[in-house]
Amino acid sequence: MLGTAVMLGTPLLLAALGETLAERSGVFNVGVEGYMLMGAFGAYAGALVTGNLWSGCLIGIVSGSGLALLHSALCVTLGSDQIVSGIGINVFSWGATSFIFRMMQTLGMPMMGLGTFKLVAIPIFSDIPWLGPAFFEQSILTYLGYALIFIFGAVLYRTRFGLKVRAAGEDPLVTESRGVNPIRIRYVSVLTCGAMAGLAGSFFTLVWLSAFSEGMTAGRGFIVLGIVIVSGWNPYFIFGACLIFAFVEALGLKLQIFYPEIPYPFMLMLPYVITIIVLALRRKVVPPKSLGAPYKRAG
């Protein structure tokens, strides 16, 4: 069951890392859900068209980033409302993926995707009793996720770029006065977020299932937003938070088998209920000061 949790937690992890960077730079992405959905569809369709899982994955990443570029153009350049843009992106992605998916069906595109990435056991580590198989018999994307925790942590806290990102999210005006362009920093951060969410979306159609279904991300992008807050905008805490949420989901699936007398809808609503409860309990976290506020360059 822990293995299932790690599996279910991987897309949350990937997207939450990206969203943490974006929010640290001051941009809120309600559209993460949409990036993920578009990424899932892009990866499914891309893999089918090119006949290669890796290029499918790449197309998933590009699909997510494309939407993130739109979000940046509207919110960072034009200074429009980030939440409205995020809602628009979600509705748009839902519509676009369903529309194109159904169009492809009528043109005879197969329902099933190309296939999935194989699970790879890492020698030695996967022999650790109990924990080994759960954490080290996963797909390549999960291992990538592990590595990215440390990469994002290091970039955010140990590099000049990370310092600029944090500065842009706290006080873009002061950042600008020190000769750093907060607009550019925000663009890079949001595009990275889109790429990560697109990768997370690819996980759904290239690892989890070898198929696409309409609205398949089912609000996980919103849970990601909750995870970012719960982990206090800190990449190192994100994996733990993701595991908690994924564990609840895995628990729900497991309980269905052992307690069939409890109707399954109540199990499946658990992750959402838990998100609300955890957000209510952990309310002392302080967000980046300029999160959600557009920045207009002087002159």
Partner: protein, 340 residues
């Protein structure tokens, strides 16, 4: 107004690109859509029926938005409204219509209001981000209605997953013979005017707008901010719930699982297109009603429509953002503050 017109035009243009790209003639599609929505009295009535839940969803969203509260849980609150309506319609069947229908409306109002108040309470008392909690509540509502449709209320005589129908005494009267135009449409219209006056002319409406302009200023002016936020969240959900009631009593008389799914987001889009003006919402939601009804007649039947309409609605929400310059010329209308 300029923003809305620009957004609609941009929406049509971008959607046309999508249509052309998928091998359809956009001009034919649009004319079929217009004829589909308005060519006969029946179809015009369908457009108005479709618009009704969007209108109430948009009004609910707008009311909370005036208080600086983002109610993105409209979709779930519509679901709760339908649940309350169905429960009332199968439980109090001994009452005459004249009592039963108002009672069911009250149930939907209170039920969805209470549902929405959960997020409002967490926001007001614990500063929990309402954007996230209202979104999460949507998914909880979807699973609740799924449970009811598949288990306790499932109609055993029908193969499809749908609930038993409400008592016929709970059905709303039909306004025009030969159509499905039901009295719930008038409830939507009436609510728009009531909310317009409520926000402009009452003390509570004034407090709500004061909180939206800035909680600190409102507090200084003697407004109880956290109480106002909770009232706004309750009323917002309650108005949306009324829309859900109309769908069951007026349009369907039973629930299938995805009866109103995504209607809430279309409602939010309608509110944004109208810049949260209750009277503007009448127009914008009728426009979205036209979009949905018309698209049924557009091309290649229903298989493509739901996605295509969502696509269109999404583009339109985004298009309202492209014209911030025009919007800024009109004076500062909305100032949502205190986001976290």
């Amino acid at each position: 107004m300029y923003t809305a017109i620009l957004a609609v035009l941009l929406g049509f243009v971008i959607a046309a690109i999508f249509l052309e790209a998928s091998g359809l003639n956009a001009f034919d599609a649009y004319s079929a859509m217009f004829l589909g929505a308005f060519s006969t009295p029946y179809r015009t009535a369908e457009t108005l029926i479709r618009a009704s839940p969007f209108m109430l969803g948009a009004l609910g969203f707008a009311l909370a938005f005036k208080a600086g509260y983002w109610n993105i849980g409209v979709d779930g609150q519509l679901v709760i409204g339908t649940i309350a309506a169905l429960w009332g319609g199968i439980t109090f069947t001994y009452l005459p219509s004249i009592l039963l229908i108002p009672l069911i409306y009250l149930l939907g109002f209170l039920g969805a209001g209470a549902w929405s108040l959960i997020s409002g309470f967490l926001k007001a008392k614990f500063h929990v981000n309402e954007i996230l909690t209202t979104l999460m509540m949507n998914y909880v509502a979807y699973w609740v209605v799924h449970y009811l449709v598949y288990f306790p209320w499932k109609d055993p005589e029908v193969f499809l997953h749908q609930t038993i129908p409400i008592a016929s005494s709970a059905n709303l009267p039909i306004l025009a013979a030969g159509t499905r135009l039901h009295a719930g449409v008038l409830v939507g219209l009436g609510s728009a005017f009531i909310i317009y006056i409520f926000l402009k002319r009452t003390r509570l409406g004034y407090s709500i707008r004061a909180v939206g302009f800035g909680p600190d200023g409102a507090r200084y002016g003697g407004v109880n901010v956290s109480r106002t936020v909770m009232i706004a969240s309750f009323l917002s959900g309650a108005i949306v719930g009324v829309g859900g009631v109309g769908e069951v009593l007026g349009a369907y008389h039973l629930i299938i699982e995805n009866l109103t799914y995504n209607f809430g987001f279309i409602g939010i889009a309608a509110a944004m297109l109208a810049l949260n003006n209750p009277l503007g919402i009448i127009l914008s939601s009728t426009f979205f009603g036209f979009l949905i009804t018309g698209s049924l007649y557009m091309t290649r039947g229903a298989a493509l429509t739901i996605g295509a309409v969502q696509l269109f609605v999404g583009i339109m929400i985004l298009a309202t953002l492209v014209s911030p310059l025009i919007a800024k010329i009109r004076k500062k209308k909305t100032g949502p503050v205190d986001r976290q």
